[in-house]
Amino acid sequence: MSEDFKKKDSDQKADSGQENRPEKNHDGRPESKAAREVGSIDSTIMNLIAKKRTNSSSGSLDESQDHSLEIDFGGSVESRKHRLPNEVLAQAKEPTVFKPMPMPLPKHDLPTPTPTPSLEVRRPSDALAPLADLTAPSDLTNNRAELKRLAADKIQNPNEREQFLKDIDQFETNFDKRSTKCATEKLREMADTYTQLSRLLSADSDILTKYSQCQLKEGETPWRVRVAEQIIHQAAEPFTISQGTLAVCAAAALEVREYYREPAAVARLVTDALLTGSYEATAGGTKVDLTKCPNNLIPDLFAMQFTVEKEVHGVPAHAWGNTYAGARSFASQLFEVTAINLALQPRGFRYEQPTPKEYEDRKNAANGITVDIQTKEAKPWGSSGSRMFTTTDIATAAHMISGKDERHFALAAPQLLPSECRNFNLRAIYELVNRDQKLVNVFSPTELPLALKEVEKFDQWPPIVRVDASKPPISQKNGGSHYLVLSAKSPDGNQVAFDNTWGEEKDHIGKPEVLTSQIADSMFSSGIALPSMAASYIADASSLGSQPKSWTARVNEWLDFPNKLSVGGQQLAANEYLRLHDNGMINKNDEIHKWVSAHPEDTKLELWNLLLLEWRNKYHH
């Protein structure tokens, strides 16, 4: 809330003297509960209309930001200003009406684990808000007030407290600008983010109390408070996130994107990790127990040094006699180790950060290991095989964390040679076979602008791209594969801006001025190209070309498969299919069997159907 509003707030309190009295309607009579509910519904509907108008009228968005973030107002922008006293009253009664909500986000508040059909995902930014979430405005008001109260109580250092409050304001302003969610969803997202931060600030202990290395001296800011400060700062300014010295750019890029889009889900992940030492994914139920490797939980030497204040003022970290710009925060450490292990754990591996001793011995070249959970065999992080965090893993982890459909933001050059990419049938087969990889395949550098439009169309901005860092626009000598978050694009898609998690000085955010063709060439660099898989697909591509009707029939058969297995109109669960198959009750169908084995969460074969439909629509078969 701006200073002006605060002043008006106090003036209003002084004038009315009604801080703890029931809210009155315009006639001066106390409102009944029913009347308030009706008023609330009315206000929400009016707000939706107002929001729609605000979005369509030029220059009015900034003016309305503070208001619209606080509470839903009715009417035009002008009438919102007239409604300000209501907002002030709401603020005034905060301490008496607020009920702390220390629990994690209930699952039913989040979308179902199975990906949302694309039709639902494609929601324009100015869409009317769903009317179901009528409490979002008041929840935001209450949660913010509680968070501020806790900040005043728990953040002892005045500079830190001031920064925290500043970051709250900045978060609301920036999130409102950057998010494409509808008005109510934005309010809900911010309210839920505050719920998690309040959990951190109100907790009496955390998992780090178990570890002697994490004991703090008298007067030092507790880890829970530091992490709360870091979360709100990173939610306010996602492009300040740095990966530090470790080769975890894929996870760091994902972190930037999730803070940008889903700060409440990120806040829950980090809060759960710190308070309990474990995190259960929003979708799929994978549970990562970070206590299995305490080194992942204990702040590393950069996280030990990191403070929001240092980040804001660009103060570098120091280690091993060297100076390092762009140190990684502890909140980022927790996010990244958790996100990586969400992807690796189902494959039987665990990522482990370097130990303090490894850091001491190898300095910035210390990079951690991937351990086989069964055999304990360790290999350096980044080794080949299933031990790394790939582009597909970025999209998978995003889905697991947010619980939402995340299939249209990770842009990838396919595992085909440029000449092979020109074969339409090969492309079609490639996309059919890899339809569950959650990637947007860009088949040639010239297709990148179109792919960016697709990301936007599916409301999945910002995209993440894998580039060769030795090529422009990064042009780092030692180069190698690296991930960038594209922060903005020009309307024609020919220029972009990007965030580089190597540090803010490496960013090109703001106005899109980097040629998209540079990014595209870097994506297709032979230095990072994955081996071609064309040999596996060429026969099917040829068959698709010569017998398109049989392929249409084949895909239709697959689409019909769930119906064939329905009993009395009820679909057979996928695991039931596996049982039938294993008992030899139905003949083997490789495709569906592979699918059910690989996607046990797709119990109703909805994702199976959705992806096949998307493929059929795209290739017109």
């Binding site: 120091h318 790939t390 596996s536 297995l565 009750m585 003949n587 592979k594």
Partner: protein, 266 residues
């Protein structure tokens, strides 16, 4: 693009079942089907009673009916290949090191590597700061040779410069601490190697159970005032280390330095 409904008209089992009938008959049946479906929606009860019963019966005996249908599918359409592997494997083979593409930034212009061949398995993602090229013996993968740079400035480079400008000597405790030499290194001294002053450290890494021989130096040319630390390190389990150290030292003696300002922090 809006999604199409899951079933097209032609996919309906009823239409499939009578595919041999004439077009007019199909249209007539379709019309009837639509009318009955509408009636079903209005009344809330199925008017396809018999058919639903049939379906139910079919699923009570999945082995009989479903098998037949899918047998036909398997017969006519082979399974499609597995998804593209996300495995990333880009391996360079070396018999010698040369500062040329893609490693033109190395401090070593040339070095003859010990016999047996060496390979570099490029990591999936690059290093944000400096570089670390980890070679392993092709014949004996337990042998490791690492060429690296911190890629960043010293907070205070006076200590490093001071150690290197002195005549070759054993490092004192203060000197070791001033440049953050790990306790894992039990010996440290400076020496000249083909025109460059290097700090040699030997020790043991408990976490990897490897003995280590490391040389650190100014990655830039000897006279450069801009100090960026670089290094070459040989490590292996104790038995292999002992067996191969002399060979590796001989290889180090073949180093020709890249005597230019080759690397600096961005």
């Amino acid at each position: 693009m809006p999604l199409k409904p899951p079933q097209t008209k032609d996919d309906t089992p009823e239409v499939k079942g009578i595919a041999t009938l004439g077009r007019c008959t199909i249209k007539a049946i379709k019309k009837t089907y639509i009318c009955l479906a509408t009636l079903s929606l209005i009344t809330g009860q199925s008017v396809f009673g018999q058919e639903l019963d049939d379906k139910t019966t079919r699923h009570r005996k999945p082995e009989a009916v479903v098998s037949k249908k899918h047998q036909r599918q398997v017969d006519t359409i082979p399974p499609i290949p597995p998804p593209a592997s996300s495995n990333w494997s880009k391996i360079y083979n070396f018999t010698e090191l040369r500062a040329k593409k893609p490693f033109e930034y190395l401090a070593v212009a040339h070095m003859k590597l010990p016999d047996g061949g060496w390979q570099y398995d490029v990591p999936y993602t690059g290093f944000p700061t400096g570089y670390s090229i980890d070679l392993t013996g092709k014949k004996n993968p337990k042998l490791n040779l690492r060429i690296y740079s911190s890629g960043t400035y010293f907070t205070d480079d006076r200590y490093f410069k001071n150690i290197l400008k002195q005549e070759p000597h054993e490092l004192s405790k203060e000197e070791r601490e001033s440049i953050c030499i790990s306790d894992s290194f039990t010996n440290s001294h400076t020496e000249n190697l083909n025109g460059k002053r290097v700090i040699v450290m030997t020790g043991h890494f408990d976490h990897d159970n490897e003995d280590v021989y490391r040389m650190e130096f100014n990655h830039n040319r000897e006279a450069s005032n801009t100090v960026v630390s670089g290094g070459i390190e040989f490590s292996a389990p104790p038995a292999e280390y002992k067996q191969n150290l002399e060979e590796m030292k001989k290889a180090f003696k073949t180093i020709r330095w890249n005597n230019v300002h080759v690397y600096k922090p961005d």
